[in-house]
């Protein structure tokens, strides 16, 4: 399956709040929290279902910390 969207996640800025995940329209969600923690001790965001991402930026627009950069292929 071809990628439509992709994220660049600033994992060190992420606070693992998970609100972006609730915003993702895909089922299953493209994104999830890592088991690993960053320097601040938070389980940061990572892509768990990379190929499903449509680059809609819904995750990014509700991230309180501006962690997510979104790219979308022009079709």
């Amino acid at each position: 399956m071809a990628f439509k969207g992709a994220l660049v996640i600033d994992t060190e800025k992420c606070k693992g709040c998970a609100v972006c995940i609730t915003g993702c329209p895909q089922d299953p969600k493209c994104i999830g929290l890592s088991k690993k923690v960053n320097a601040k001790g938070y389980n940061y965001l990572e892509m768990v279902n990379e190929e499903a991402c449509i680059g809609c930026a819904s995750c990014a627009v509700i991230c309180p910390d501006g962690v997510i950069e979104v790219y979308r292929a022009k079709c």
Partner: protein, 183 residues
């Protein structure tokens, strides 16, 4: 006897309540006690620490810059408090998330890998009690009976059924204690 302790970590790690249990246990042994938190809920998500003093005499200053014991639970606290341990004093820390381990050679240093253990056992709420166990192993300042009474005092009644679990966690902590550098 006077023991001056700093406990420091992230907010939410149970730093303050660990200190509170110690203080209550101290009272049960008729000691003078003082428990002074770094306050500042106005600063979200920062570090949190508490200074606990147990003493047989009137406690002069509740605010201290040097400690007999530092119990350290994250890197920021390590950076801040390693140097504040009195020469010959004690530093106990959880290695989880620590990138720069302590380097002092004039103090006793122990590790308690409490975070890993707690998540392994699914008792992450009792993380702080495991750490406390490690500390009590090195410095048995309060007896198990007094600790029990301390828990009774510091926990709200509706949580009293959890006291045995807390005590177990303390015992686990005692077992986890690992010397890192001793004099």
């Amino acid at each position: 006897m006077t023991e001056e302790i700093i406990i420091a970590g992230f907010g939410g790690q149970g730093v303050l309540s660990m200190g509170k249990i110690l203080a209550y246990a101290g009272i049960m042994q008729d000691k003078e006690v003082s428990w002074l938190p770094s306050y500042g809920p106005e600063m979200r998500g920062g570090t949190s620490n508490v200074t606990v003093i147990l003493s047989d005499e009137r406690i002069c200053s509740p605010y201290l810059n040097q400690f007999d014991t530092a119990i350290i639970l994250n890197q920021q606290s390590m950076d801040k408090f390693e140097s504040a341990v009195k020469p010959g004093g004690l530093l106990i820390y959880d290695p989880n998330g620590i990138t720069h381990h302590p380097t002092r050679k004039d103090i006793n240093i122990y590790q308690v890998a409490a975070a890993d253990k707690a998540s392994e056992l699914g008792i992450s709420k009792l993380f702080n009690m495991i750490v406390l166990g490690g500390f009590l192993k090195v410095k048995p300042l309060v007896t198990p009976e007094m600790l029990h009474k301390g828990l009774e005092k510091s926990l709200p009644e509706r949580h009293h059924h959890l006291i045995p679990k807390n005590e177990e966690a303390v015992e686990i902590g005692k077992g986890l204690l690992t010397p890192y550098h001793t004099l």
